[in-house]
Amino acid sequence: MALFYAFIAIIRRDLLLAVRRRSEIANPLLFFILVITLFPLGIGAQPHLLQAIAPGIIWVSALLAAMLSLDSLFRSDFDDGSLEQILLSPYPASVLVLAKIIAHWLVTGLPLLIVAPLLAVLLGMPTQSIGVLLLTLLLGTPVLSLIGAIGVSLTVGLRRGGMILSLLVLPLYVPVLIFAGNAVEMAGSGLPVDAQINILISILCLSVVLAPWPTAAALKMSVN
């Protein structure tokens, strides 16, 4: 029970911090919106082309927005010593780390879900695939936060970890991108997408269970 309170306390703290420094929420969201709105301008008057690549555009933008927000996951805690205190807590570090990842997703991943339908309409995506798009984002963006957490925890101690972080994390994002993009595309042509959704669910379950352990271990190494 005490562990549950600690878990909730970390989520509450991080949400409160996000409210106090709003740029953390706004940055990835603005990036997501900007990138997507630039595509119609760049491609020009070719609505069919735009419609065809809409799932890809949205998912690649979501992926890059997630990458952009990753560094904020542990950076401030690392810099002010709060991370040391979290690791010294008698509770398992992996559980507390999971709380931090969940809070991070609520702040940076969930807003993408809210604006995604609007942007999908903007790109002319067929109505029947918008529901699937939302479902893939709901299942996929937490995976991006979870996998990203492993990468950040390894690089948070380095002075310029940004480049290494993207090299570490992007390849691991590829399966999510492939299955999610494919599901939205299939849904657009009216085909069943159960298989892709099931795979995304299993990727999510796996990463919820497996990602916090290496993250906690790598953070312990990073504070050294």
Partner: protein, 207 residues
Amino acid sequence: MPNNSTCRLQGRNLCCVRDDRVLFEELCFELSSGQVLLLEGENGSGKTSLLRILCGFREPDAGQVLWCGNAINDSLYYEEMAYVGHLNGVKKELTALENLKVSLALGQVGKYSITQALAKVQLADFDDALVQTLSAGQQRRLSLARLLITHNSLWILDEPFTSLDIQGITLIESLMTEHCNKGGMVVLTSHHDIALPSVDVQRMLLS
């Protein structure tokens, strides 16, 4: 504090190597209830490295740290220790009260309530102030207040007197004395002379 009298912190043949430089080796100490271990030495002599080994952040290159006879990772060590390092470990965008609430949730309930602890470190009127509006010394006091609100018997303090004024130093000394008289233990590094007349202070010189 249960089993306080039997618990002790031991370092056995500790060795620390940093960048091919041996900071210390064959270091042994034993700290039991009611004692203070004061680490002395020049800058770069390995005081902070030793404290970080005691916290478990760093593996000793040889030797081991024992808590009540068990390796620290196999014991209830983390329920009994509290650490205040160079970094205060408080969030600047939260108020003093919110910071302490998080610390309390991460540990177990201790001797003092949050209000009492804030009064003890003379921050009673600042509980609703954002930490970034507090001075460096006040932020230090806030991080030391964390020691009071959570349950712990071993305090590990890295330069606790940094940026504290004379009253602050006296205050922390009296808190340490009180803690030791109740059966607690303190490991600290300090460049200041500390005055703890009624406490058994071991001094260890790292060179």
